[in-house]
């Protein structure tokens, strides 16, 4: 996967909690939501039809403190599974940030993104180059790309496949 995406923007607010706005915790913990189809529940408490409406390759834009609360990675999986290619937010919760890299969900932290991208805009994001173009408004933004090893983790699809690579290359003690 090249770290380049083009898609339509869905906008959400600040302080989206992994266990409430992103995936309802009680239903998940009670086994009513399975990890395999957690994508169908993505943002269900905010917009019950979101998972149906979103298209593969779309881009999620959020405000500050995206993915706050506990470190439950079903939230990151839900966003990835429902088809979102990349999440851009003003700022991320620390656990959500790590879990996104771990499950291979590309993210960009960028102050000013809420002003720059509105619902329905079409964006082009290049994680390697550190650029975002708004194809609807014609404006562009830059950001500092991740160091190479984090880009590589995202490229191979997350920490599990990355660990396979490390083990196969004999880079870690067997």
């Amino acid at each position: 996967m090249a770290l380049k995406f083009k898609g339509n923007v869905w906008v959400f607010g600040d302080n989206l909690d992994v266990d409430y706005e992103i995936v309802p915790f009680r239903k998940f913990d009670a086994g009513l939501i399975k990890l395999e189809d957690v994508g169908n529940w993505c943002m269900a408490n905010v917009d019950p039809d979101f998972a149906k409406k979103v298209k593969k390759g779309d881009i999620m834009v959020a405000g500050t403190n995206m993915g706050c609360g506990h470190d439950h990675f079903q939230a990151n999986l839900a966003i990835k599974q429902c088809g979102i290619a990349c999440v851009i937010a003003e700022s991320f919760d620390r656990n959500f940030f790590r879990n996104s890299i771990a499950v291979g969900l590309p993210i960009v932290e960028l102050k000013g993104i809420n002003e720059f991208a509105k619902a329905g805009n079409e964006l082009e994001v290049d994680l390697h180059a550190g650029t975002i173009n708004n194809l609807t408004t014609g404006k562009a933004l830059k950001f500092t790309p991740f160091p190479d090893f984090l880009q590589e983790i995202l490229e191979v699809g997350g920490m599990d496949p990355y660990a396979d690579k490390l083990v196969a290359a004999g880079k870690v003690k067997k």
Binding site: D14, N15, C68, N95, I101, F149, A163, V167, K171
Partner: protein, 429 residues
């Protein structure tokens, strides 16, 4: 230029002379030579494929395995029995080389973040990792340790011992004066949350300092650090006291080097608060950051009280509840669930008569672990109203989504259990 405690711990852990905020660093577990990773049943269950792979652990001797991270097998709504899961997982870890004494069984356990300290996995100046979905691993900041949960990176970490970190900026919270009797570490944290809000410390470290912290117990410090995530922080941390160093020296033969912030360390912000003015704080439903002084919500009727979780349930919390309940009774309409954090803690305070005082008062004492925090043992029924010293109050967290959860200190919970309504604990002290 001086460095903060977190920068020093991280630099040491990755083998660099210094690290700076914003830097991404790569960590290899081979640098740490004692057990410092805790994992549990639930982690492997959520990663079905974990066990189907041909797996090796990078180093089985660094791993401790505990039943659940919650210290129980009683999961509400669970489809398979966790006892079976535990048996399967412990057999499997044994095959991968984890020694019998590193596989803990009920009766020797508790909530995992209590265990991290009780079993000396988290040492001052070092790092501690929870290889589960468990953000409250940051609780160990209370003993001057950098705790982190591996969450979704856990399987990869257990296989490779490799992971990465982003070095955080630090914010200094200087708390002066002296806390009033009945105001606990918990109240100090919630007060700060009320001041800086849920985004006040995103991806930053909250370093708590000042006279109030110097005199605060290890238990109170852990409560505060446990909750740091609710202001968006990566962790909370406190420079360790001599008492804490002595606690670990008595528990482990492993050599450890406590770290302390330099006088000229760089903080991106400093907040000063007068600890003597802090009142008991209550967080009201449905949001984690709606913090009030207790007088705003006094008198709100409650049907349940819960004392426990990684944010509470330590010796000091149990003693405080016993002090308030001694010679008194829990309100006839209230179910007061008290879940000590660990077997060790329960046993220590039992010797002082704390447990029998609580039983005499009519409390329901559960086996050590997380208790009602994730809805175990006595989950909240429809429309119940609970006051609790646990971590969070999101709808559905502790049971039915219609139940209302108020958060307060162990003292506030105990006083409220007596009156059947939210009550200022200071009147009982």
């Amino acid at each position: 230029m001086g460095k903060t405690i977190i920068e020093k711990i991280m630099a040491k852990a990755v083998g660099k002379s210094e690290v700076s905020p914003g830097e991404y660093v790569q960590f290899s577990a081979s640098r740490i030579d004692h057990p410092f990773i805790l994992t549990g049943t639930d982690m492997s269950e959520r990663f079905g494929k974990w066990k189907s792979q041909d797996w090796t652990l990078f180093d089985p001797s660094k791993i401790i395995f505990a039943p659940e991270h919650c210290g129980s097998y009683t999961r509400v709504g669970s489809t398979t029995t966790n006892r079976e899961n535990h048996r399967r997982n412990s057999n499997w870890l044994k095959q991968l080389g984890v020694a019998d004494e590193n596989i803990l069984e009920l009766g020797r356990i508790g909530n995992c973040h209590h265990l991290a300290v009780e079993k000396a996995l988290a040492l001052p100046g070092s790092v501690y990792f929870s290889a589960m979905t468990d953000g409250h691993a940051i609780t160990v900041g209370g003993v001057g340790c950098f705790g982190s949960c591996m969450s979704a990176s856990a399987p990869a970490f257990l296989r490779t011992g490799w992971t990465w970190f982003r070095v955080p900026e630090s914010i200094k919270f200087n708390i002066t004066g002296k806390l009033q009797d009945g105001v606990m570490g918990r109240d100090v944290y919630e007060y700060i949350l009320g001041q800086i809000g849920p985004t006040g410390a995103i991806y930053q470290v909250m370093e708590f300092t000042g006279p109030v912290m110097d005199s605060m117990s290890m238990d109170g410090r852990q409560s505060m650090c446990c909750l740091a995530m609710f202001t968006g922080a990566k962790t909370g941390i406190v420079n360790p006291s001599q008492g804490i160093i002595d606690f670990f020296k008595a528990r482990t033969k492993v050599h450890f080097e406590p770290q302390y912030s330099d006088k000229d360390a760089k903080y991106i912000k400093t907040y000063n608060y007068d600890g003597s003015k802090i009142e008991p704080q209550v967080v009201v439903p449905p949001d984690r950051h709606l913090v009030h002084n207790i007088k705003d919500v006094e008198g709100t009727p409650v049907t349940n009280a819960f004392l426990g979780s990684c944010a509470s349930g330590r010796d000091e919390d149990l003693r405080m509840a016993a002090r308030i309940l001694k010679g008194r009774k829990v309100h006839p309409k209230v179910l007061f669930n008290i879940t000590p954090g660990s077997t060790d803690s329960m046993s220590r305070v039992d010797k002082e008569g704390v447990i029998s005082t609580l039983l005499d008062a009519g409390c329901f004492i559960c086996a050590p672990g997380c208790g009602m925090c994730p809805g175990f043992y006595t989950p909240l029924a429809k429309n119940e109203v609970c006051i609790t010293s646990s971590t969070t109050n999101l709808p559905g967290r502790m049971g039915d989504e219609s139940a209302q959860v108020y958060l307060g200190s162990a003292a506030t919970v105990a006083a409220s259990a007596i009156e059947g309504k939210i009550t200022d604990p200071r009147k009982y002290l």
